[in-house]
Amino acid sequence: MQLSRILPEVILTLAGILIMLVDPLLTRAASRKPVGWFSVLAMVAAFAASVWQLSLAPGTAYFGVVQTDAFSVFFHLVICGTVLVALLAAIDSVRPETHDMGEFFALILFGTVGMLLMTSAVELLLVFIGLEISSISTYILAGFRKRTGKSPEAALKYFLLGSFATAFFLYGIALTFGATGTTRIAAIAAALPHSSTPILAWIAVGLILIGLGFKVSAAPFHVWTPDVYEGAPSPVVGLMSTAPKAAAFAVLLRIFYGAYPAIQQHWWSLFWILAAVSMTLGNLAALRQQSVKRMLAYSSIAHAGYLLVAFTSFSPAGIAAAAFYALCYVAMNVGIFAIISHVGGYDDQLWSITDYRGLAYRSPVLGGAMAFFLLSLIGIPFTGGFFAKFYVFSAALQSGMFALAIIGLVNSGIACFYYLRLLTALYAKPAEGSPVLAVPRMSLTLGLAILLSASATLLLGVIPRTSLDLAQRGASAFFSTVAVEKPAPAATPVLKGQ
């Protein structure tokens, strides 16, 4: 039954189509919340289907185009879970008078299909199409708040630069095809050592990294991030800063570890530099930000950097660390944006750190949850953020990346400065008549969203075992399907010259 390999995608597609069919039948005045609930249900079903996929023996389907294994299921779960929270947060945060609510949910569902396909695809063409599906749906969602100038501008920037980067990505695929004559990942890995033109593949990895680096907003391909985060509606930012990134990271792992292990010497230094630059640039630039969303945009750049650190360690531990980091990162980020989309309002009435002063006075739960997510972003123990950083840097150090680990951890020290600015603001005394005092009560769905993401973040920090096991299974599944020889540099001891 080949359909079982793409069951979550099928469920979501059908749900999306159903929404599109039903939406026109509803009156203009009718609340679209049931539609939202329906999409939540669909997402839960997709989640369940992914869990079920775990029981399948790893394998491919549709002539070797998709592959379900622990790796893909792990990311399926990450993505479905994230989108689920984002949906819950969006149901009440997107302004009710917006008439495009039906389309909004449908787009999210379709976009999710794209992301899911990205993680399970082992054919670059399908990766490309999945990427486009998720990208295009995000472009549209970013421009959803049409009344202000910022939202369409964000969509435009995202769209133009995104397409620009996609061209690079595509060029990379083309050169890969040129070097090996195939676009199947396993076949590429097999053909690459015998290629008569391996130089093409060297360039190809660079080009692919540019395209995907853009998606995960790694410096120097991050430039779109702050502007788009600022302009896009907060519920959408919560979504697009998490799930598509997780998918892109999955693709990065799949492509680089699946297709290009043979030329690892040519790409791991790229990751090294990308990681170092992203961490440093993201954190430093965030220091002076006043806008909460822009600050978090820079923070997400830095986090992409931390995650990329894991790529430099060429080991199952590294892959597991990267996957785990992606999981923790999306959990906390989607949570914090759920809060921001509620507190800041659909039109970002509250946007600066000063505006957030005293949130914990207004609502201890919202303030506390936000503080908790911030602490996790800092990497405080007993939050997912801590273990994520821990695994990543542990993996890096085990491969001898001493300098990179130090850069990273010093960065995480710098990072607490701006997180703490927000955090202490939350607990400061609000000014008289501050808009923060007018923040509406938390709705049920938002509460659910926060509860889900917060408990995920907490559990990842206290008992990371289950998810880590899955990530490790994914990583090892990976290494077993793709026979990889351990490259030379990683085997040498850390500190030469002693």
């Binding site: 793409i6 597609t13 999306g16 189509i17 599109m20 389907a61 549709y62 002539f63 185009v65 998709v66 917006t98 008439h99 495009d100 389309e103 449908a106 787009l107 379709f110 976009g111 299909v113 794209g114 396909l117 054919e123 063409l125 399908l126 199409i129 999945g130 486009e132 599906i133 295009i136 749906s137 472009y139 549209i140 421009g143 959803f144 049409k146 009344r147 369409p152 969509a155 040129g178 008569s196 033109t197 130089i199 093409l200 360039i203």
Partner: protein
């Protein structure tokens, strides 16, 4: 002969592209782009990709560029003014583009021998049968998924272009 045709249409391509670059009115640029695309269709033919050559003309030159022109007309876009928005684009962008070109050209030329030659009608002609077998069997799933992509595009276009009441 083959080389000559290649150079002729190659030159057309580059000229069209440069013209796109240099023209200040979007319509002119669009027309230049059509030139590029059509020339490319010829080159596709030279490379033995008849189906693509046709698709290039139909989809690109026909559909997409028409859409462009339509929007240009719709928005009544005039000549672009030479605003000075960005120094970075020139200072860092052009060296970047130049380096890109230089590096790629250097690599491709250095790989001339291993990459081999293209022969007119060389190899086996790609039949529709071959095409459809790949398209509808090996790549069935991507093909189906493309429908989702198109659906999204439609949806998006509708949502974005719809005026908010």
């Amino acid at each position: 002969m083959y080389l000559v045709i290649f150079f002729i249409f190659g030159t057309f391509c580059i000229a069209g592209a440069l013209n796109l670059l240099l023209q200040r009115h979007p319509i002119n640029s669009a027309l230049s782009l059509i030139v590029v695309m059509t020339s490319l269709a010829v080159l596709y033919l030279l490379l033995g990709a008849e189906f693509l050559a046709a698709a290039q003309v139909i989809v690109y030159s026909g559909a997409i560029m028409v859409l462009f022109t339509f929007v240009i007309m719709l928005l009544n876009a005039g000549e672009e003014e030479r605003t000075r928005g960005s120094r970075a684009a020139y200072i860092v962008g052009f060296p970047g583009a130049a380096a890109l070109l230089g590096l790629l050209t250097y690599i491709f030329l250095s790989l001339r021998a291993p990459l081999g030659n293209a022969q007119l009608g060389g190899g086996t002609l790609v039949t529709t049968h071959d095409l459809s077998r790949v398209l509808f069997r090996d790549l069935l799933l991507p093909f189906e998924v493309t429908s989702v992509l198109i659906l999204i595009a439609i949806l998006g276009a509708v949502v974005l272009a719809r005026r908010e009441s």
